[in-house]
Symmetry: C2
Subunit: 416 residues, 2 copies
């Protein structure tokens, strides 16, 4: 079962939004063991949408289209499916009633333009949309199942999980086998250095395959196996994973979906320690990352964004003599910020970040960042240089702060 994905929307081609839907769909298709070799994007143009559908229908067993089924006049996916399938447009009076009730339940009058959402190519099944007003569609076109779904991810993804994937798995029967991935997450070395250490394990024709992914300062290694059953795939992955772990040692900090935020929170919870942040250059990103995890309130006390130097001496209680003597961007100041955050926020552990994020240099060259961690068992600071622009420096430094926090919590940082 070979599934393609086509996103419709001129805003994607103009770069005004990023196609996160394709990534979300890709992840779900892989998890289901469905083959997925191609993705496409096309604008709100009836001729080009129709052409892209026609091409994909000739190549794939299923095509999932996202976008272009909303209420506005630039939503043309329904029309394009009619053109590609050679069928006329019908109107679903019962869905129109459903739409009217949806708006009534929210105490509002339905904008008349929403009635477009009750139109559908003849023969199409409507797929209910629990989170919005645009129903999805499913239609057999030639030898291909074509699905049209909303572009809004919060509406689209439940329809994929509850309808599209189960339907495709039913169609695929046992034919497909499964595609299982194991992700090994590393931090602390460059992609090319990692590739040199484990590169001989790579070969396009092997099963499992190996791939390298860089994101936000972490390098991930993905080992992917195809087999008849999940257990058989796991047996193929195990020896490759063991060899990678043997070579990379402590660079591998986690597997699968276990993010550094979750690991840090778990390490704190295991020790019964609460956590605080003191940020300058990262401006709240470390705190926002930690609190993105559900349940983080069990561990996170809070944070202080001490953007103005006065707040470092005031709220965080950094000795003015340290600021004057060593500067805002120094190991001494970062350590004093971490100690101050523990005190001011009543936490057992604190991570502090100060630095020169740019575009203008602050005492030190742009990209110079200092991260300090203090726990009940020790404290330490690291000065580093990050390449790139303000946003890249902030993101990479946030990742580094979370990792140094991890190494402080386990004690590895003190014992090295």
């Amino acid at each position: 079962m070979n599934v393609e994905v086509l996103a419709v929307g001129t805003e994607l081609l103009l770069g005004q939004i990023v196609n996160g839907n394709a990534a979300d769909l890709g992840g779900r298709l892989a998890a289901a063991g469905l083959d997925h070799y191609r993705q496409g994007v096309v604008g709100d143009n009836i001729v080009r949408i129709t052409a892209a559908i026609t091409e994909a229908v000739g190549r794939a067993d299923a095509l999932i289209i996202t976008g272009g089924i909303g209420p506005t006049q630039d939503d043309l996916t329904r029309e394009a499916i009619c053109a590609a399938a050679g069928v006329p447009m019908d109107f679903a009076a019962d869905y129109a009633d459903h739409l009217r009730r949806w708006w009534q339940a929210r105490g509002r009058e339905m904008p008349a333009t929403n009635l477009r959402q009750a139109e559908h190519p003849r023969g199409a099944e409507l797929i209910p949309n629990a989170k919005g007003t645009a129903p999805g569609l499913r239609l057999r076109v030639g030898e291909c199942w074509v699905f049209a779904l909303p572009g809004v991810p919060q509406e689209m993804l439940p329809m994929v999980d509850e309808h599209v994937i189960p339907f495709l798995l039913g169609q695929a029967g046992v034919e497909g086998g499964v595609l299982v991935s194991q992700m090994l997450r590393t931090w602390g070395e460059s992609e090319s250095r990692i590739a040199e250490i484990v590169g001989d394990l790579y070969d396009t024709n092997t099963n499992p395959t190996l791939a390298f992914l860089a994101s936000g300062g972490e390098i991930k290694l993905r080992v992917t196996a195809r087999a008849a059953t999940p257990a058989a795939a796991a047996d193929l992955i195990a020896p490759v994973e063991a060899e990678i772990r043997r070579r990379l040692g402590r660079l591998v900090f986690a597997t699968g979906a276990d993010t550094i935020e979750r690991i840090v929170l778990r390490l704190c919870a295991e020790r019964g320690w609460t956590l605080a942040t003191a940020e300058s250059a990262t401006g709240g990103l470390v705190s926002a990352a930690l609190t993105s995890v559900p349940g983080s309130s069990e561990v996170v006390r809070g944070g202080i964004v001490a953007y103005h130097p006065e707040l470092k001496t005031g709220l965080l209680g950094v000795d003015p003599a340290i600021l004057d003597g060593f500067g805002l961007v120094s190991a001494e100041t970062a350590l004093a910020m971490a100690a101050g955050a523990r005190r001011a926020l009543g936490a057992d552990v604190a991570v502090a970040v100060t630095g020169s994020a740019g575009p203008d240099a602050l005492e030190q060259p742009v990209g110079t960042m200092v991260i300090a961690v203090e726990t009940p068992e020790g404290s330490r600071a690291r000065v580093s240089r990050s390449p790139g622009d303000r946003e890249r420096v902030r993101v990479y430094t946030t990742t580094a702060a979370l990792h140094l926090l991890r190494l402080g919590l386990t004690g590895e940082w003190w014992s090295r």
Copy 2:
């Protein structure tokens, strides 16, 4: 000059990273007035990369490939271009020397695998990479210019700006004319309501065209005109923009790239006011958004993430009687947090956010968020309900907090 974009990488198909490169490239092609109708994604498979290149070369005047030219063995774009063009692979000894010097300058030995980056299809021009070690390539294949660039955006985008776009504009001559977009940014109404108010201005065959884009709680309207010159395109856009503004009134808060973060900081600077944040449910996202803007340190004093209730009464000085009487998620508490942030952080203006972000309800149903703003001229709070999961609630609430801050700074919120 019709330009297609092809991203190479199994990690994209598996959904492990999002294809931000396609959006960045799309924005640059539109700004340059180059036509861009199709984007594609294909995995690290030599047969499928070659097929995708061959198809695009038969359809487009130029093809920009991102990814697959790194040092690791799963980087197959160079090989696929050889196959599609029917040319052998050459080795650039002088680029290999350049690579060795690049690593020497950083005091490190070059991993041998990096020598792959000195390989190139015969006849290809190398495009220098100022930020990394993988050079880009340019090769004429049939009637199409094919570019291969790194997948890392910080390396790829400068090569696009400095080499690819100028080269394509030179090839296009004056043929293309320009494509000019004006973006009108709105906040406060749903997409379908906005579409109803201005939908009759939409018609696929008009010039300019109109499109609707929803992101993070804002609805953007894009008016796009094609004309021989930027001035002629601006003349086409002006009357449509005027009519949209007449109908939407104060819903339109900005145009172009002027983000809500920049507007808020500018309003503060104009009034000589400093700014502070007090966050609970958003966990630092409001502060991180404000400090993402270069120069924000002129206005932003800092922020307190008072995740634990004790910090609301402690650091922010919220009266315990208010917390007990009205609850953590109440207008009274949010107002007291804003007042406390002004005091604790020594700022003229403060925005405060408290709420129930989920997945478990905190006093109020998940999605209940309270935002308060206090300036030297007034204060007010709003309770709202956001649909969706934790991340969506946090992002939408961050957007809403910035907008209510804007309405507080201009005084519109008090005078309504």
